[in-house]
Amino acid sequence: MSSTPDTWRKPPFIANRWVRWSVYLGVISYILWVGTSLPVDWERVADGLGRAKRIFGGAFPPSFERSGLLIDGFLESLKIALLATAGGVALSIPIAFMAARNIAPLPIYYLGRAIIIIARSFHPVIVAIIFVKAVGFGPFAGVLTLIVYSIGFVAKMLAERIEEIDFGQVEAMRAAGAPYLSTLFYAIFPQIMPRQIGLSIYQLDSNLRASAVVGIVGAGGIGATLANAFGRYDYDFALAITIVIVGVILISEGISGVIRKRIG
């Protein structure tokens, strides 16, 4: 008889069994309590079903009669997305350098991180509402909103890439007596360039999608056209817009995917 054990169990996620079971019980009972205590008015749900039926009934068949309006709206969305991507990426690069722990001094690092956190903490719709209040209805508010949105994503991802660079190349430039900016251009930019291009293309695609959403709260573009169509009970036109939005986003996602794969 050998005393080598022949059974083995994976150690539990939480070692203490009392803590473990109370955590499980607590989570389950909280979810049950929330589910039962949240007010759901089933009569109103039933009413709503009827309304939904009317909306969908009115939406079929989709109407492409006012395709001029549709195309104008889309071109505006595209302009918003392009401008916002250009502005957002241009601002993201210096912010990313500020927010990279391995090259920025500590106070600058915190400032850079703070900018990114603020840009990320609000959904574009909330940012759009603020900008619409600030600069009025229209595409300019949309551009400003999506610039903030782009910074939140591009600067964060780029900062992470900068933190992953091979620092030996920076050391080599320093050892040669290169000044700060020359070091950035020779040792860091070449390393982050592929990621930078990939992020910009992804962000253009993402901004196009978001521009449709922020338009609904008044920031211009196809979203504004969609909101107007709903407001005037033109459900068939609204469906046409929705179909085109989905189509354009599929295409843009496909294109951006292919390009990003190519630069890899």
Binding site: D166, G168, Q169, E171, A172, M173, R174, A175, A176, G177, A178, P179, L181, S182, T183, F185, Y186, A187, P190, Q191, M193
Partner: protein, 258 residues
Amino acid sequence: MLKITDLVKRYGTGNPVLKSLDLTIEGESVVSVIGSSGAGKSTLLRCINRLVEPTSGSIELNGTELTSLRGRELRAARRKIGMVFQGFNLVDRLTVMENVQSGRLGYIPTWAAVMRRYPKKDIRRAYELMERVGIAHYANKRADELSGGERQRVGVVRALMQDPEILLADEPTASLDPKTSEQIMGLLRDLAGELKLPVLINIHNVTEAKIYTDRIVGMRYGRIIFDDTPDKLDQEAMDQIYSGSPHADRSEDLKEAS
């Protein structure tokens, strides 16, 4: 002439990695530094060009005190100290020519570097040196397309482009196969002679140190315990340099201190 006096380097509050170390390198000699891992070889080299900040002591290169320099003065001094790295540290995505010219970054304005407007004499010098080490035909290739030996040649040319007064090589052959390794060591020795350049090489391969260098410095835990011509490096000296472990040395020191 490189003159190091009473150099101490301490990381944090621990025991010093370099303990009041003295070393003088004169003329165009090729000097190798040997010693087990953790002996402080790399720290010593990096203190010279201030990639590592010395804790105290003095490092003088041709009359300039290096330890007190800051900003522009430090960069000007670094231009005169070429360095070759174990991992080559080339910019993989740039061409060989751009990598070679990056050795001139301390001399040319940033806009010229960014626009790749290199001075004519720098380009001529780059071709001469690349021709000398046999990589001129790679000028337009990306650095990551080259083999290890070729990449280290780029590293050597980059360092020489600085027009250095001394060349530091931090285990330049440790990532190379034995044959390539000997070629690079031979190249460093020959270039030192041709350019009348003192060279300081950290190396693990004692046989190569004996063949290719004029003088061997043996380090053991932060101190130089051997400094002589290669033929004087006998078994006893080798045992002294490589016996024990840095950790054991460290605890010995602790006992002495208490």
